[in-house]
Amino acid sequence: MKTIIFLLLSSLVAQARIVEYDLTIAETRWSPAGHPPARAITVNGGIPGPTIRFRVGDTARIRVHNHLKSETTSIHWHGLLLPNEQDGVPDVTTPPIQPGTTHTFQFPITHAGTYWYHSHTDLQEQIGVYGSIVILPRDGEAIRTDHDHVVVLSDWSRESPEEIMRTLVRDSDWYELKKGSTQSLLGAAKAGALSDFWQRERTRMPAMDISDIAYDAFLANGRQSLTLPGKPGETVRLRIINAGASTYFYLQSATGPLRIVAADGPAVEPIRIKRLLIGMAETYDVTLTIPDSGKWELRATAQDGSGHASIWLGDGTKHPAPEIPKPNKYRMDDHLMAAMEDMDMKPMSEAAALAHEPERPLSPYARLRALKSTELPPHLPRRTITLRATGDMERYIWSFNGKTFAEDGVIPIKKGEVIRIELINDTMMHHPLHLHGHFFRVLMGQGARSPLKHTIDLPPMSKRTIEFEANDRGDWLFHCHLLYHMHAGMTRIFSYQDDNWQPPGKPKPGTNIICNNICCLPGNPDAMTGSVDPRMLSHHPHAGGHDHDTLHFLLDGTIQNHLSEGRATLRNSRNDWYAAWELGNPDDLEYEIDLAWRRYFNPNLSTLGGLRFTNEDDAEDRAFLGVEYRLPYLIESSLQIDSEGDLRAALGKRLQLTNRISTFAELQYDTGSAWEWSTGANYLLTKSFYLTTQYHSEYGFGGGLRFRF
């Protein structure tokens, strides 16, 4: 009897176990070995932060200390099911953690698996605010191994993430050059892909790339080369977490196929795979056996082939993992075909899957199978929502259904319904889409055993269908986990509308904050902008800073011995407010300066209106209206009419000849000043400077420097 009571008490005590951690977020200068240090933000002094470990049934109590001088921060517990106010998204669910303060999170640990945590504030995740979470089942792992290691993959740049974002917004050529992925006429000729090159130009498709950013290093647990403990003949579980801000990785081991035993936390029926594509924010547990002798590499290669991180196991002679061929940048059709074949993939035997595994496989979702039924209650009402991933690489606008988060941020849902989301990717990039606070079923042919995930890769021009039970309350983010896409607008909030739910607690005097004995969070927030009529929402999600349409200042111009021209622009996602100048004939300066507003509708169409000031002969200052339209072969055309009754028509074309050299030509007819034309070439020197030479019909031949900031 005493034994039984003891066991019961022990069980209760075990269930009530509170596991505490302190995470300190602080600024430092850091770099992986061999690189110059850059600004970083660390968790407990390291990149990545520490692994925090729990067992199902524990209660997590985590104090997050913000030691930053002037920045707020946050921590989101990625993949965990927890109360809404513990989700850690600043302003949306949880107040931002102010500098010099501590926020205590407390939540029950309800499910096992490999997860991670990261900042959801601005772009902090890129520079180090991430770490891993390991949650063991109550009785330990069903699949036992000799070793159990966490591997956190990430990408690192010596540039600040804010500068990376600006570079993306101004459509710079620099990252392509740095990665060797520039698409040029000469490159296409060398690759035997001239017809593909001209076909792309004819159909008005800009050159597309697999990834946006050129990183300086790819890391595994903060190192480019990581050695993990393990002896010949031993078995190893690797808990792989892709904490990259903007990098998909292919994983391949020199030891042979990897055995996947868990995906995004939950265990799955084990499958073997030679090459595993892991998207940002996904996690996979894989097992392997170290061969009898030698040191064996598991390589995480960036999807665009621009680099890799190595994980070594064993000891002795090195056995590198196979090289993964670089993608053919001129044959985007190949990538589309791969996505289409994947959509039609039928369940097949493991042997067949291994035998037919493509060189550049997509995620193995069609082969993942849950250990037990994941079917949702059949009596619940079903509702289908279609979300199209949409984007515009030239202006770096990323959105769902053509609208950014600032334009249409809320998807109202009700507790007790099953939300089925049909995801269609209308872009040429992969998007890893993450739902906070819920697992969704990935519907790819496994029926009742469809796997549960929190993040799903949506390949270019493809479709996926997921579903989840709306069984909670509050506001939950759904977004692309490519950090820069999320901040450019590919984000939504699923907002429960069941009642006027407010976080429990008392209002903090003089603020819009409600505090209880655990934490403080936003109360009765303001309505968001967007197409959902606020009157239809019984609960208005708080957008925090996520719905800002950021303004960027861009400068692009030339200084040459015979002329200077360029444009200074203040830009948000759909508007340019700019001052454009053309100054010529240094001996007797002529100028034409436009102050204008350009409204951007899509890559092919914009309108503009503004004022033009000039001292040219027989010309007056004037107002003008115009339209810009992109013609086949990416020829830019414009037509303007002005207050003096003159019409101006222009055509322009830029062509990339080699990796560094591009040529351009412009032709203009103005009824007031007749023909004007120019042609020239640029040679890319650095990220911001080009050598330029130009012949202009009025000012003659010359050369100088082009700058882009």
Partner: protein, 79 residues
């Protein structure tokens, strides 16, 4: 001047126009690709083909090949 404006206008109109179906041909009723359901235009200028009396539009070249392997499977979407 007139010639220039005419040329520009013609070029603009030519790029806007899609291949007009012949009289007996049924116009394509969707704004999405018949194979992938992607928005037409998301992969550049859509490709237009006529199969029997039905006009069909595709987002990209690989979709044409995929369609032609099993046209009935996709044409069902139009009925």
């Amino acid at each position: 001047m007139k010639t220039m404006l005419m040329l520009v206008t013609t070029a603009l109109l030519a790029s806007c126009a899609s291949a007009a179906p012949a009289k007996a041909v049924k116009a394509y009723p969707l704004d999405t690709c018949l194979v992938t359901d992607n928005k037409l235009g998301s992969m550049g200028t859509p490709i237009t083909k006529v199969y029997g009396d039905q006009q069909v539009k595709f987002c990209c070249k690989p979709c044409v090949a995929k369609f032609e392997k099993a046209p009935a499977r996709y044409l069902k979407k139009l009925h």
